[in-house]
């Protein structure tokens, strides 16, 4: 495996089209997704339900074949077992042989990685214990709760001490304490120098966990970049709450909204909520004085990822296809 650089995962115009039904109707699940994950980086893969996250991840692990584009995993094709050996993967809503105990599942997985018996014996109880499954180590998975299965999934993903972790919805199915624990665990893994690639709807969770995000909608990338950059863009926006003078409302409004980049977000009676680029703020304050309006509130906006996500991804459910709001079902 030649790795010339630190790009451990590269998607180049990845596309996947499924054919469904008798007539082979095309469903474009992923379109032209390009991204690069560098060693030690953590990338959040976001998107509402059905946006193609799981499909892309399955392509990365060679579970399905892309219909177009290319994937390089540690510089190799994902069908290369040696490249996959360096990945720890947590499937979406993981499921394991329910007649096995967690220790047995991990033992099986350990054998697939070619770990010797002594190493397996040492690492398996340690990992299960670390994931809070110490008490359930010798119970069959049958009857394990979703969250417990998720923990087994995380434990098995760490068994081989992989360089890259690919987690599909790592926080789903967990209770609030579980989410906090897993988030802390992922932060810890990140600080240990592991690279992370994980999908989520839970944006507030992701915000603290990743360096960069890639936001998908209907299979295509709608926003991508370092989190700091994406948010900085929005940091430069301000919001103003202005009360218009009763005698001169229309003229005042025209004056204010005539400023460059000003957008009316809301109007309740004589009160306007405006959104504007931060560098227009001096112009706005001058215009407020001129129009004899009252500036009630002025704030610098630092848009949360959640809003960015809603704004970018849910480009209007006008076609009625999207019943759920992203970030809603977690």
């Amino acid at each position: 495996m030649a790795e010339q650089n630190d790009d451990i995962l590269v998607l180049d115009k990845l596309g996947k089209t499924f054919r469904v039904g008798f007539w082979g109707k095309k469903v474009q699940a992923v379109r032209d997704v390009s991204l690069t994950l560098k060693r030690g980086e953590s990338l959040g893969y976001l998107g509402p339900n059905g946006s193609g996250k799981t499909t892309s991840i399955k392509c990365i692990l060679s579970l399905i074949q892309p219909t177009s584009g290319e994937i390089r995993l540690f510089g190799a094709d994902p069908s290369d077992a040696a490249a996959r050996a360096r990945v720890g993967y947590l499937p979406e809503a993981p499921y394991f042989y329910d007649y096995l105990k967690p220790t047995e599942v991990l033992d099986y997985v350990g054998k697939l990685y070619g770990l010797d018996a002594a190493t397996r014996k040492k690492r398996i109880p340690m990992l299960l214990d670390r994931l809070g499954l110490g008490h359930a180590m010798d119970r069959e998975l049958r009857g394990f709760s979703k969250g417990m299965l998720q923990r087994v999934g995380i434990a098995q993903s760490l068994l081989s001490d992989p360089d890259l972790l690919i987690y599909d919805e790592p926080l789903s199915g967990l209770d609030p304490i579980g989410r906090k624990e897993v988030r802390e665990l992922m932060a810890e893994l990140r600080s240990e120098g592991k690279s992370l690639f994980f999908s989520s709807h839970v944006l507030t969770d992701i915000e603290t966990l990743c360096d960069a995000v890639c936001i998908l909608d209907r299979g295509a990338v709608v926003a991508q970049g370092r989190l700091a950059d994406l948010l900085r863009m929005d940091k430069l926006e301000s919001e103003a709450l202005i009360e218009l003078p009763a005698d001169n409302a229309d003229a005042a409004k025209a004056l204010l909204t005539g400023l460059p980049g000003v957008e009316v977000r809301e109007q309740v009676g004589a009160v306007l909520r405006l959104r504007l680029p931060t560098d227009v703020v001096p112009g706005l304050t001058a215009a407020v004085v001129e129009a004899r309006a009252t500036l009630r509130e002025l704030s610098q906006r630092r848009e949360s990822l959640e809003e960015l996500f809603v704004q970018k991804a849910v480009h209007m459910s006008s076609d009625g296809q999207r019943a759920t709001t992203p970030g809603g079902p977690a």
Partner: protein, 281 residues
């Protein structure tokens, strides 16, 4: 606590034949283990053992010199059938279950080749069927002993050829299971088995001067295609020779075994080709 024990780098053994064999064995072990919890499997095993015991009672009705023969014939007919039934039932869901229950998603991304996984599944099922055959044969031997018969080398040969037939059906099941869903793959496997058992009849009918296979051109073509595409399973059936007291020449035994294993190889290779690039969704 450090999660990943970075103090000492773990050694993963992935490249080479030995690790590959270890992975195949791991998959086979798990397949065996899963089947070992299958109620259907044990139900079938139990019922067959009961039937073998029952054949003793039944043989009481037979004439004195026919008693042993009845038990022999019964075992020779029923034991392979039960094993083949098991092969069809378990083979049909062999891969489907793993996909349907999503257990495959956790396994295949590991550094295991799809071919290794498939071979492991096949090996596991083959070993299970060997165990089943051995268990039934042991009961059968016991019953024969009770009836004053002996378990001859010829019977061992007959069972060995049965096992080749069972493997053949299992490999067909593997192929259809890699290709399609359980019901269809079960039906197709049954089809191969049933047609395979009667291809020699079709062959004879085509040789005859009368009858549909001889006279209707379309049926002649169909007959040819069936005979060419479906293994002739009568090769593995030496019950007639056993009854006639004719010893099976080693050359025949060898020929039949090679014939069967070639078909097994054919089906396994086809399965690998199909499974290698299949989307697992």
């Amino acid at each position: 606590m450090n999660l990943t024990t970075t103090q000492e780098k773990l050694t993963l053994r992935i490249d080479g034949l030995a690790p590959a064999l270890a992975r195949i064995t791991a998959v086979a072990g798990n397949t065996l283990r899963e089947a070992g919890r299958n109620k259907l499997f044990f139900g079938l095993l139990g019922v067959t053992i009961l039937m073998l015991v029952f054949s003793v009672l039944l043989s009481d009705l037979a004439l004195a010199d026919q008693k042993v023969r009845l038990v022999t014939d019964f075992g020779l007919a029923v034991i392979p059938l039960v094993c083949i039934g098991t092969a069809v039932l378990l083979g049909a869901v062999l891969l489907y279950k793993e996909i349907d229950r999503k257990t495959l998603y956790a396994i295949l991304p590991k550094p295991i080749r799809r071919s290794e996984f498939l071979l492991g599944k096949f090996l596991g099922l083959s070993l299970l069927l060997l165990g089943q055959l051995a268990a039934l044969a042991a009961c059968w031997a016991g019953v024969l002993y009770l009836r004053g018969g002996a378990f001859s080398l010829a019977l061992v040969q007959a069972l060995a050829l049965s096992y080749v037939e069972i493997l053949l059906v299992t490999s067909a099941a593997l192929f259809f299971s890699a290709l399609s869903r359980p019901v269809l793959s079960g039906v197709l496997t049954m089809g191969v088995f049933m047609i395979g058992r009667i291809t020699y009849v079709i062959n004879d009918l085509m040789q005859a001067t009368k009858g549909v296979f001889a006279e209707v051109p379309a049926m002649r073509v169909l007959g040819r295609v069936l005979v060419a595409l479906v293994p002739d399973l009568s090769t593995f059936n030496i019950a007639d020779e056993l009854q006639a007291g004719v010893a099976i020449p080693p050359a025949y035994f060898l020929h039949a075994t090679l014939y069967g294993l070639s078909w097994v190889g054919f089906f396994v290779v086809l399965s690998l080709l199909v499974f290698e690039r299949r989307d697992l969704v």
